[in-house]
């Protein structure tokens, strides 16, 4: 942590970057910090409690301007950053990525390839929570699953914290806000909520890196991250992806191949 603070202060004072996106202590757990000077760098922390996916900020025009900036990134954030690269949303020249490895060493990445090489060491596995909930859901019949999710979704009030917290939800106008035609009823109601969440999931297929930011952001505790995670797990073998690795070959729902084994798409 000391090294991170020193390096951040150095990067800022030398003008290498104009902003270090990191974490500071918050009310109950660490929160994002926009560190713009070396004095504030003293507030930076980086430990296992730092789970916000800061990649959500790095595509926002109003926050990230023309200047180069740094972002501190645990593995889950690194995965999102790679996916954003694949989707042509980032500029390598503007981005410096900092992480602290398992040995407590500060690592700096300036290219996509460096990040990819580093992340390749880590297998994307279910955590305890995900394992527990997903095995429960996997054990359900189709009818039980529908009932479970309808009940969960019935609590949704469409604050769109899931969308706002997701690094890959960077559209300036979301499908839910399109009204010609009105694909999704915009008010909260059990079925209209399901419409939104199914749409969200479909837009994440082959893109989601299972960072869990959406589920973590949900103020009413709907485990929506499990939907996109499960879809990622299920489709990876079908499309030759490695879970948590960027879909270099293109996203499942926005690309197709001449030799696709399905007939309907040819």
């Amino acid at each position: 942590m000391k090294k991170l603070r020193e390096r951040a202060a150095e990067l800022l004072s030398q003008g290498v970057v104009s902003l270090v996106l990191g974490y500071e202590e918050g009310t109950k757990r660490p929160r994002p910090l926009f560190c713009r000077n070396s004095v504030n760098a003293e507030k930076l922390i980086f430990d296992s409690r730092c789970i916000h996916n800061l990649a959500v900020y790095i595509t926002k025009k109003e926050l990230v301007g023309k200047e180069r900036f740094a972002v501190t990134a645990p593995i889950s954030t690194l995965r999102s950053i790679m996916q954003l690269f694949v989707e042509n949303q980032l500029n390598e020249e503007k981005l410096l990525v900092l992480t602290v490895d398992l040995n407590g060493e500060l690592r700096e990445f300036t290219t996509f390839d460096e990040i990819a090489a580093y992340v390749a060491q880590f297998e994307l596995k279910r955590g305890e929570r995900e394992q527990e909930l997903l095995s429960k859901i996997e054990g359900m019949t189709r009818e039980e699953r529908w009932k479970f999710w309808m009940e969960e979704m019935s609590h949704c009030f469409k604050c769109y914290a899931c969308r706002s917290a997701c690094p890959l939800c960077y559209c300036s106008k979301c499908v839910v806000e399109v009204n010609r035609p009105q694909w999704i009823n915009p008010w909260p109601a059990p079925l209209a909520n399901m419409e939104w969440h199914i749409n969200r999931a479909m837009h994440m297929v082959g893109r989601c890196t299972a960072c869990g930011a959406c589920g973590d952001a949900c103020p009413i505790g709907i485990p929506i991250d499990l939907i996109t995670r499960k879809m990622m797990e299920d489709m990876a073998p079908e499309f030759g992806y490695i879970p948590g690795q960027p879909a270099k070959q293109g996203n499942a729902l926005s690309t197709w191949k001449l030799d696709d084994r399905e007939q309907f798409i040819r």
């Binding site: 929160r31 609590h155 009030f157 604050c159 769109y160 706002s164 915009p186 008010w187 952001a217």
Partner: protein, 336 residues
């Protein structure tokens, strides 16, 4: 106003009498790892150990989505069916926190200034509030800084202050409260002279409202909005859990020749909230939207509607995915 005493078994009896009377009873229930207001039939369903429900009781007088009227097109003509106040069931809210009950005043101030709001008023008329004073608080609570207190009775029809013996001091505050007492009159006995204040949590005042107001009067062009809102994600979590946020959208639920016009919750933090058809957006940046949220609650509402748009419940701070802590932010504005 009258003060009575009710024993533990009396509370159980009274609760059953309310349920038996046919009124809907909503109370905090612990399920899915969250405590929130849900319909209950038994006192045993009501949650015990918690500081605050995730959502406020706002939805009981301002539903998340509600039909303003419905229409049917017949041979080029249109028939309208108005909202029917009689369709709203009698509802009792049990174990409401004082900060939640206090939210009815700012809500009604918004809905009823100038023209009145038939829907909100219909819900209000059919809703009775039984609040419980607070014996505990957490670091997000600040009711005492916004004209409230753990024993504030504003917005309540009855307030209970729980006593160590399992019984409670009962403050009967309105005719609606009297009607609820009348459902089981024998369980309410003479007040034992216990002082309510003894059982309330001590919550120090964290900022001076007048001071904040004076600072905000000059803060429109301050850099504080950008500084504070940089991490804000622009979702609607804070607005939707808030007991006083009332911004709404009007939408159409069309099904062929029939349909319904729906009012649903909206939030000033959403990027498209103020977007003009022309593409011009007066609040293009999150910092402008954060400024609107704070100025509206702590400056515009006091000036315009003579009521603060915040009850200090702390829900927004707890619900925020990125810890936009309103107490911390307001306190820092007060100190500027």
């Amino acid at each position: 106003m009258e003060t009575k005493y009710i024993s533990q078994s009396g509370i159980e009896q009274w609760f059953d009498a309310i349920v038996t009377s046919g009124k809907r009873v909503f109370a905090p229930v612990n399920s899915r790892g969250q405590v929130d207001f849900k319909p209950v039939k038994k006192l045993s369903e009501v949650a015990d150990e918690y500081i605050q429900t995730t959502q406020s009781i706002k939805a009981s007088v301002y539903p998340k989505a509600e039909v303003l009227f419905s229409y049917e097109k017949v041979n080029g003509k249109v028939n309208l069916t108005d909202f029917d106040p009689e369709s709203v069931p009698e509802t009792v809210l049990w174990k409401v926190h004082p900060c939640d009950a206090a939210g009815f005043k700012p809500l009604s101030a918004i809905f009823n200034w100038d023209t009145t709001d038939k829907l909100h008023n219909a819900h209000l008329a059919k809703t009775s509030v039984i609040s419980f004073s607070c014996s505990a608080a957490d670091e997000s609570c600040f009711c005492t800084s916004v004209n409230g207190s753990p024993g504030n009775t504003a917005g309540s029809d009855i307030q209970l202050t729980m006593l160590p013996d399992g019984g409670a001091i009962v403050e009967i505050l309105s005719p609606k409260g009297e009607a609820l007492v009348a459902l089981s009159p024998s369980v309410f006995v003479a007040d034992k002279g216990e002082k309510k204040e003894k059982y309330l949590v001590d919550l120090p005042v964290r900022f001076n409202l007048e001071e904040v107001n004076a600072k905000l009067n000059k803060a429109f062009n301050s850099t504080v909005w950008k500084e504070q809102s940089e991490r804000c994600l622009g979702c609607g979590a804070c607005a939707f859990v808030c007991p006083t946020c009332a911004c709404f959208d009007i939408q159409e639920d069309a099904h062929g020749s029939k349909g319904r016009r729906i009012r649903c919750w909206d939030a000033c933090g959403f990027a498209l909230f103020t977007l003009h058809t022309s593409g011009h957006n007066p609040r293009e940046h999150q910092s402008q939207r954060w400024r609107q949220r704070i100025l509206h609650k702590f400056f515009y509402m006091p000036e315009r509607l003579s009521v603060v748009g915040c009850t200090g419940c702390g829900r927004c701070s707890r619900a925020c995915p990125v810890d936009m802590n309103i107490l911390e932010h307001i306190t820092s504005i007060a100190k500027q």
